[in-house]
């Protein structure tokens, strides 16, 4: 594996040696996640984010709100993701010139310039195989030569002249249950976090309004800049001219006074014997308040204590893996069938001589329930103004486990 490291300078050039402070901090932190996002060095400040196994580091000379930089770096990563389909080392390496051109457009003298993906795409076209072939034949380039129309309008997020033969608008209502379940199975903390992701492929300048059957469920909402805030305040209707393509319309939290239905329960018995090099591991998962829907794609992840050497388990359903290096047990369960509850049983081999772990590991559970928004949120209707055609509209509901943790 070759190691990649790329730099881009705005204003005067900073010697690369500042990065050593970062590498030092990275070395010190046991875990990549524990590298402090802000590092102070004698002359500079380093602000970094870690995403998709990459570090994005920016060098700051003067006071600036750290979130400003962090937010920007994430926006950069989002843009790469958007352009290259993934934000990985390989993608950046393959497209280093585009990366450079993008960064050039996104930041001017340390101040963000164009960060909306719709605008950037007008300035610099995303790479596709077809285009590179065409370009090499015709000699045309990936770089646009007119100012993107959005840049000057009040709706910088939408590009002009959008045309589709099939006009479609899809909304995914995705709700995640964040929960902490304690040893005895009672809920310590639970809350529903939802987002509405939209995929809008509509020609022209459609003006949409989306209303809910029960908008008052939404307790705390954050909006894409395209949403008219006043309209929401007064009528609880989402009214907006959408960006073209995929974007996150809103994210919301369901008011905490509503009790959260927890769709699964876990029976567990994990024990390590004193002075012996083995332990028992037994977990069973069952459905609970599933509202008549199947719970799918269940995965259980357990970070086992360091003294665990290996695990010897038998699942009644699905398959499991245990990584002896990271000590992570992953059990891919699949669907729950209420007739036969899936369980995973077996022995744990411990390092001999080491003291038994004091704490049982907590179980992180992932699942998915299709066609259900657990909060009961329902989209009432979607109306389009401003264009004549009839768009195809679709709403999908999914409930997932968010940070769903069972303490044992």
């Amino acid at each position: 594996m070759s190691l990649g490291e790329y730099e881009k300078h705005w204003k005067s050039v900073v010697s690369q040696s500042v990065c050593d402070y970062f590498f030092e901090a990275q070395e010190k932190a046991a875990d990549v996640e524990n590298v402090p996002p802000v590092i102070s060095t004698p002359h500079h400040y380093l602000i970094s984010i870690y995403r998709d196994k990459l570090f994005f580091v920016s060098v700051i000379q003067t006071e600036v709100p750290p979130l400003f930089v962090i937010e920007f770096l994430h926006r950069v990563a989002d843009t790469f993701q958007d352009y290259f389909g993934e934000c990985s080392e390989a993608a950046i390496k393959d497209n280093v010139v585009i990366v450079y051109e993008l960064l050039e457009e996104m930041l001017d003298n340390g101040f963000p310039l164009a960060t909306e993906s719709n605008i950037l795409k007008e300035l610099i076209k995303p790479p596709t195989i077809l285009r590179s072939v065409v370009n090499s034949i015709t000699g045309s380039s990936n770089v646009g030569d007119t100012l993107p129309t959005g840049q000057l309008s009040n709706i910088p997020w939408r590009r002009a002249g959008v045309k589709y033969t099939n006009n479609e608008a899809y909304f995914d209502v995705v709700e995640e249950i964040d929960a902490i379940i304690d040893k005895s199975g009672s809920t310590v903390f639970a809350e529903i976090q939802g987002v509405i992701d939209a995929c809008i492929k509509l020609s022209g300048m459609p003006d949409l309004s989306l209303s809910f059957m029960n908008p008052r469920l939404l307790d705390d909402v954050s909006f894409h800049p395209c949403i008219r805030f006043k309209r929401w305040e007064s009528e609880r209707v989402l009214s907006f001219i959408p960006p073209d393509g995929n974007f996150r319309l809103i994210s919301y939290r369901v008011s905490s006074q509503n009790l959260v239905a927890i769709p699964v329960y876990v029976k567990h018995s994990i024990s390590f014997k004193e002075n012996s090099s083995c332990g028992r591991f037994d977990i069973t998962i069952g459905p609970k308040q599933n509202m008549g829907k199947t719970i799918e794609a269940i995965t259980v992840t357990v970070h086992m204590p360091k003294v665990v050497l290996n695990m010897n388990l038998t699942p009644t359903q699905g398959s499991y893996t245990f990584d002896p290096v990271t000590k992570v047990l992953t059990w891919d369960v699949g669907k729950i069938t209420p007739q036969k509850l899936p369980s995973l049983k077996g022995l744990v081999n411990l390092q001999s001589g080491a003291p038994k772990p004091e704490e049982n590991p907590s179980l992180n559970i992932q699942f998915k329930i299709q066609q259900l928004a657990i909060s009961g949120l329902k989209v009432n209707r979607l109306d389009m103004y401003g264009e004549k055609y009839k768009p195809f509209k679709g709403v999908k509901y999914v409930t997932k486990a968010g940070k769903f943790q069972v303490r044992t």
């Binding site: 400003f68 930089v69 009040n154 809350e191």
Partner: protein, 1140 residues
């Protein structure tokens, strides 16, 4: 205050395990081939000199497309450069592009490509735009090193500055200003000045960006640059606002006077500025407000205020100029009653919606603004938004938690030896559980959350918090466990009630297997014992036994200190411990040795018979220790305690010296006092002043003159020259921006809405304190100038709230008095209006062509109006006077919108109270037909599932209205309407009432329908408060209890509330509940309990409401209903009604 990302270089590095290995030796080359860019560690010049040799490493895979494989090391490099040069010299754009791409790839990897400079710079005028852009990239990177050659390119940029294409003008300016060559400063200055009055806002934005670049190159240009900034600050486009404020912050943050005239404009534009600009503007305005307004907390609590003041004063007096100017903090108060400056209010009001931004940076910026500027009672609104950010990326969490930690500690003010709770505002308390820690959180996040949890712990929630902590103690993450133990210690010191519990818990931890845990516990126990040593002899004994096992130096030292300090509680064990320690003295760590000496000295003084020899032995050992601290300490101690001929004077007091009662340590958060840094800033995060940090000034004692913010008319018409330019540029962006010209495009429609809204709010802001109706007058005039289209759409949107209009007595509409502030601002905007309309006519056709979106969507705009505004006559038919009155009500509506913090629903509901009238159609909108409605709460005769609604028509026009009936309703599924019989004619001045039934299908969705007359149709809608969706049923107490028992669990919603004094009598409680919801009272045995029951109209589900009110005012409201949504909303409404 802040300066921005002066210099971010994005170094991208793969993480994961490979990266870790790499990171182990960042400077040494890993065997995979030395990454040559590490050579960059050397000073820049050196690297430049050595470049040819350095770049000789084998090809990296990145240069894959490069034809020649790197073979003959020292020869390949020049060869390749030659090759690139050849490619650049060809006539083929594709080859040039390929070459440039490779060069950029080299730059990206930190390789030196500077010797290609001459070959590259030749291509600066290349036709191919991509080549050109890449050349720009190259130029900006190396121009500083090759200044002479860089000059060759200047003329190209100068030509570019005149290009008709705004993108090319802008990018020429960008590159020109980024070339850091001092010789061209005058050219840059000229270019910036020119661009600052360019007609394209995009170019002006670029000019704003260029200002700090030039300033950092040559600070002598400051005065001229300030002029440009001043000019750009007056720019009215949102595109420019953020960039110019950034330039302002970087070049002349001290010139706060430049902001005065633009303050209101910036506040009003804020919501439409892009996110990055919002952050900059908000933090600048925070500083501005601190210098211009009075503290809103002034009169709240003098005691607290003073302590705070003193704290600020001491920090800032010595630190900064601006602070000390106003910091007459010693002057004690004879204060006038505080009235918030309307401009201060304007800022708070206009930033609040941004709490719902998707950008964490914006949310944080608003949060810090509220924290620093808002009255205490209003700061709470930020909590919810900040808690939301905790769901974001871990870096965001990290920063937010740091700030939350500071905010949550702010509420404790230390008075005296023990920290006391002075104000516990508790804005984060409801979100306590959001800070619970998951085992998967990174350690740094865990520790910050712990900090917040500790700050939030108080008498009431401490059991929960401690239970949580118990879980954490068993964590596998030992750093985190140690932090938890510290946190328990802090809880124990702060909350006396749980001190013993905590102490016992910590003592149990002493038998933990993990040494770190034990050590940490010992240290914390030591601190706790110091607070109340008397009764803890047992614990000290237990600790003494641990000296055999614990190896962690800090813990050993703590135990020794404890034994020494409280040796009279353990008279038998102490000498024994000293014996053991003397034995192992030489093997101990320094910190332990020092404590051994200490222990020896204390024992010698209290129990010299047993310990004299031991002490001497220890002191002798220490005398020859390697560490000079220890030697010093030994010598010093010996002189003190062992009486000698000369040193008698001190040794007599030795006991007092060593065994003096020591003050208990205060365990406090490391976030204490951090709030003297502006929150959200880098300095706050690092808890140290960062370069370029602008101190947040203290509030002034006396408010500076507020009239400086009044914008005068001549401001816009001062110089005819400039005005002309404006006229030239206006058509362009007024068109694309949609400043409500007659040819408004669909996309700009909403914009104009929000703009006019913000305008109206600014109006009210400026004149708020004096008289609101006056402002609305001017609003009227202003509205006249607007296109009727946009007006109507606003109107349509707000129609439901028209009833608010009642607030404004109609008689006042003709009034014409006005205060200075609103007068000038309105006239200025008026003049703006007129100039715009003129421009509209002058507008050259060519601009039209250049803005395709507007022309394309013009028909669309029409459609919007058709769909949205059916209840209005087309603009042409509309008489002139009604819209002015409409706009009055609009202004009132908007005001209500922006002023009230409470959500809309309750404000709609509260006046209903079963009999209250709601407006359905205002007489102005209805052209003389006024329609109100009430929920009569009588069963609807036709259909028991319907809510019966009384509709009152009155005709205030001078012609009879004929054929009133309900037109085709547009109803959501499930909702149905029983229309009232057609009213044939309604004579002028007459009114009538009809009954109609609406089946709302147990939801609070609005029923939209049309009211038709012979000539007109009006779209109206009735939205029922949840309380009207039910009808009372009569149950006995037993039946009630039986039904309630069936509806538990998810169907039960409980809320705690405190009843205000005004609402403690039976009568009022019952009245308020029944006014809010159509429920019947259920008889009840106990006096403190109220029960109500009803059934929803459509499905007949039971709704049971119980209110358990204690005489103290604490109350608990429970609603049981199958319809969870209805239950939830009902609880909200009833709580709202009761607590009002």
């Amino acid at each position: 205050m802040q300066r921005f990302l002066q210099l971010p270089g994005a170094a991208v590095r793969p993480g994961g395990r490979e990266a870790d290995q790499e990171a182990a030796s960042p400077v040494l080359a890993p065997e995979g081939g030395a990454p040559p860019w590490y050579q960059a560690l050397q000073p820049e010049e050196l690297r430049w000199l050595q470049a040819p040799e350095e770049d000789t490493t084998p090809e990296e895979s990145l240069e894959g497309p490069c034809p020649e494989p790197g073979q003959g090391q020292s020869q390949s490099q020049p060869l390749r450069h030659d090759d690139l040069k050849a490619m650049l010299d060809t006539n083929k754009d594709s080859l040039k592009l390929e070459a440039m791409k490779r060069i950029v790839a080299m730059i990206a990897r930190g390789k030196n490509a500077s010797d290609l400079f001459p070959a590259v710079v030749k291509n600066v005028a290349c036709k191919n735009i991509e080549v050109k852009k890449l050349v720009y990239v190259y130029l900006v990177r190396y121009a500083e090193e090759q200044q002479d050659l860089a000059l060759l390119s200047i003329s190209t940029f100068q030509r570019g500055l005149k290009d008709p294409n705004q993108l090319i003008r802008a990018s020429a300016l960008r590159v020109l200003s980024s070339i850091r060559v001092p010789i061209i400063v005058p050219i840059m200055m000229l270019a910036i000045k020119e661009a600052a009055s360019d007609m394209s806002p995009y170019v002006r934005k670029t000019a704003a960006h260029a200002i700090p670049k030039l300033y950092s190159l040559d600070s002598d240009q400051k005065d001229q640059l300030i002029e440009v900034i001043e000019k750009l600050l007056a720019d009215k486009t949102t595109l420019v606002a953020g960039s110019v404020v950034m330039a302002f912050e970087e070049v002349c943050p001290e010139r706060i006077d430049l902001i005065h005239k633009n303050y209101r404009k910036l506040c009003n534009l804020l919501i439409d500025v892009e996110e990055w600009g919002q952050v900059v503007i908000i933090s600048m305005l925070t500083r501005y407000a601190r210098t211009q307004f009075l503290s809103p907390t002034q009169n709240e609590s003098l005691l607290e205020e003073n302590s705070e003041k003193a704290f600020y004063g001491s920090e800032e007096d010595e630190a900064k100029g601006p602070g000390s100017e106003e910091a007459a903090s010693t002057a004690l108060p004879t204060r006038k009653p505080y009235v918030m400056d309307p401009d201060h209010r304007l800022l708070l009001r206009n930033t609040k919606p941004l709490l719902q931004s998707r950008s964490a940076a914006v949310v944080m910026a608003v949060a810090q603004l509220y924290f620093h500027l808002a009255p205490k009672a209003e700061v709470g609104v930020i909590a919810k938004a900040l808690v939301r950010l905790l769901r974001s990326h871990s870096e965001v969490q990290y920063v937010v938690l740091q700030n939350v930690a500071t905010m949550s500690i702010k509420r404790r003010v230390s008075t005296g030896p023990r920290p006391a709770l002075v104000v516990q505002q508790g804005m984060f308390e409801p979100y306590l559980k959001s800070f619970y820690i998951r085992s998967t959180d990174p350690t740094q996040i865990k520790i910050l959350k712990l900090e917040v949890l500790t700050n939030l712990a108080n008498e009431t929630n401490i059991p929960t918090v401690l239970r949580e902590f118990q879980t954490y103690i068993r964590s596998m993450d030992k750093d985190f466990v140690a932090a938890t133990i510290q946190a328990i210690g802090r809880c124990a010191t702060n909350i006396g009630r749980v001190r013993d519990t905590c102490l016992n818990g910590l003592v149990q931890l002493l038998s933990n297997r993990d040494e770190l845990v034990v050590a940490e516990s010992v240290v914390v126990i030591k601190k706790l014992l110091q607070m109340q040593p008397a009764q803890h002899g047992e614990i000290i004994k237990h600790l003494a036994k641990l000296t055999d096992n614990i190896q962690v130096p800090m813990a050993r030292a703590s135990i020794l200190w404890l034994i020494g300090e409280y040796c009279e509680h353990v008279p038998r064990i102490a000498p024994d411990v000293l014996r053991k320690m003397a034995k192992s003295f030489t093997a101990e760590e320094d910190i332990v040795k020092l404590q051994v000496i200490n222990l020896a000295a204390k024992l010698y003084l209290t129990n010299s018979k047993q310990t004299k020899l031991l002490t001497q032995y220890v002191l002798s050992l220490a005398k020859y220790d390697q560490n000079y601290d220890i030697r010093d300490r030994a010598r010093f101690t010996r002189q003190l305690i062992v009486p000698s001929e000369q040193g008698g004077a001190l040794s007599r007091h030795a006991k007092k010296l060593f065994l003096a009662p020591k003050p208990a340590p205060v365990l406090e958060s490391s976030f204490k006092d951090r709030d003297h840094f502006q929150l959200g800033s880098l300095s706050h995060l690092l808890n140290a002043k960062a370069t370029g940090y602008q101190e947040l000034p203290d509030w002034p004692e006396e408010a500076p003159d507020p009239s400086v913010r009044n914008v005068e008319v001549p401001e816009w018409t001062k110089c005819s020259n400039r005005e002309k330019r404006k006229e030239k540029e206006k058509p362009f962006y007024s068109d694309s921006e949609g400043e409500s010209g007659p040819t408004e495009s669909a996309d700009s429609d909403p914009e104009s809405e929000s703009e006019s809204e913000s305008k109206s709010s600014s109006e009210s802001g400026s004149g708020e304190s004096s008289s609101e109706s006056d402002n609305e007058d001017q609003e009227e005039d202003e509205e006249k100038g607007r296109s009727s289209e946009s007006e109507q759409s606003e109107e349509e949107g707000k129609k439901k709230k028209m009833k608010k209009r009642k607030k404004v007595p109609e008689g006042q509409e003709g009034g014409s008095s006005s205060d200075e502030g609103s007068d000038s601002s309105s006239s200025s905007s008026e003049s703006e209006m007129t100039s715009e309309t003129e421009e509209e006519q002058v507008e050259p056709a060519s601009w039209r062509k250049k803005t395709p979106p507007s022309s394309k969507s013009a028909p669309a705009a029409k459609e919007v109006s058709l769909l949205d505004l059916e209840d209005f006559t087309p603009p042409s038919v509309q008489p002139v006077s009604p819209p002015t009155v409409v706009s009055t009500s609009l202004a009132a509506d908007l005001e209500g919108l922006t002023l009230t913090d409470s959500p809309l629903v309750p404000s709609l509901l509260s006046p209903v109270s079963g009999a209250g009238r709601q407006e359905l159609l205002h007489r102005v909108a209805g052209e003389g037909l006024a329609v109100d409605y009430t929920f009569s709460r009588q069963p609807f005769s036709g259909d028991p599932h319907m809510v019966s609604v009384h509709i009152h028509f009155s005709n205030s026009s001078d012609t009879p209205i004929k054929g009133l009936h309900v037109g085709t309703p547009k109803l959501p599924p499930g909702i149905s309407i029983q229309e009232f019989p057609e009213i044939e004619s309604l004579a002028p001045g007459e009114s009538t009432t009809v009954v109609m039934g609406i089946n709302f299908c147990d939801s609070t969705q609005a029923a939209n329908f049309q009211l038709c007359t012979q000539t007109r149709q009006f779209y109206v809608s009735i939205q029922p408060p949840v309380g009207e969706l039910m009808a009372p049923v009569f149950l006995s107490e037993n039946e009630f209890k039986k039904e309630q028992a069936k509806l538990t669990g998810m169907n039960e919603i409980t809320e705690k509330l405190t009843l205000p004094d005004t609402c403690r009598s039976d009568h009022i409680v019952v009245q308020k509940v029944t006014a809010t919801a159509n429920l019947g009272r259920v008889p009840c045995g106990t006096s403190d309990e109220y029960r109500f029951a009803g059934r929803t109209l459509t499905s007949g589900s039971l709704v049971l409401l119980t209110l358990d009110a204690r005489p103290t005012g604490a109350a608990q409201l429970t609603v049981n209903s199958e319809k969870m949504v209805i239950g939830t909303m009902l609880v909200k409404d009833v709580v709202q009604a009761l607590t009002q």
